[in-house]
């Protein structure tokens, strides 16, 4: 039977929303305080969902320890306590949480130890969050 196994992680990172495609004034208008020159940070909660058949021997879609290891190596070690703007992923795109969410989905999709990546949700604050699912990448 197909089920979904999901795990939430947290990482803390800084970013600044700014694009060279717009003037300084346009950046301030578009991004408001998110455009302040020295950046700001968030505790991002990242929800990772793996979909697949429940293994009849283990009762699992994916082993939690294996999933944790993959997410640590590919996402947390890369972005936790980092400045997102300086990551190569954001050399040509703004590190909005929309873009971060899609980037994390793309990084994790080929690296899942079992099952298929179904969705990634990133909560930027307790009042806003972003979803990227398999059917919408």
């Amino acid at each position: 039977m197909k089920a979904y196994f999901c795990r939430r992680y947290m990482l803390s990172a800084s970013h600044r929303l700014h694009t060279d495609a717009m003037t300084a004034e346009e950046n301030r208008t578009a991004y408001g305080k998110c455009n302040h020159p020295h950046g700001h940070g968030h505790n991002y909660f990242i929800e990772v969902a793996a979909a697949g058949q429940v293994d009849s021997e283990t009762g699992m879609v994916v082993n939690l320890a294996d999933l944790d290891m993959a997410v640590r190596k590919i996402v947390l070690d890369r972005f936790d306590h980092a400045n997102l703007n300086l990551d190569s992923l954001f050399a040509t795109q703004v590190p909005t949480t929309e873009n971060l969410c899609r980037a994390v989905f793309g990084l994790l999709q080929p690296a899942l130890p079992a099952g298929e990546l179904e969705w990634v949700r990133i909560e930027e604050t307790e009042n806003n969050f972003f979803d990227c699912s398999r059917t919408e990448v």
């Binding site: 089920a3 196994f5 939430r8 283990t58 879609v61």
Partner: protein, 139 residues
């Protein structure tokens, strides 16, 4: 179509063990969850049904009725119980979060279908606030 979700909590103990394996393999695959003395969680059960609101009551289903179904079919069997020892469906299968979601679905689905008001569309079980599994009735 509206989706309606009701949440409830239960507290149970369990351990992960596959009788077909050696003790070493169980410990290797399941880690600390393989401790035969068991451990426990405060689980959260989320049950989602979907349907059209009744034109008179405005309800997809009466929440009190759904609460009673969850209580009677799942919580009365799982809450403050050892899942491996006291719940028949886990005598042969490992009570992982995935299997608990599937088992809770199997317990409730016939009752919800029988009532004819809405369709069970999702069962989500949180083992901790950070770990959960869901089942949508898919093969």
């Amino acid at each position: 179509m509206i989706q309606l979700t009701r949440r409830a909590t239960f507290s149970s103990s369990h351990y992960y063990w596959n009788e077909a394996w050696t003790a070493e393999k169980n410990e290797q695959v399941f880690g600390r969850c393989a401790n035969r003395n068991g451990h426990g969680h405060n689980y959260t059960l989320e049950v989602t049904v979907s349907g059209e609101p009744d034109p008179v009551t405005g309800f997809v289903v009466d929440l009190k009725w759904l609460k009673d179904v969850m209580e009677r079919e799942v919580l009365s069997a799982y809450d403050h119980r050892h899942l491996n020892i006291e719940v028949p469906e886990f005598a042969k299968i490992v009570p992982t979060t995935e299997n608990i979601a599937i088992a809770a679905w199997n317990r409730m689905e016939p009752r919800i279908a029988q009532a004819g008001r809405a369709r069970l569309s999702r069962v989500r079980v949180y083992e901790t606030p950070e770990i959960f599994a869901e089942y949508r009735g898919e093969a």
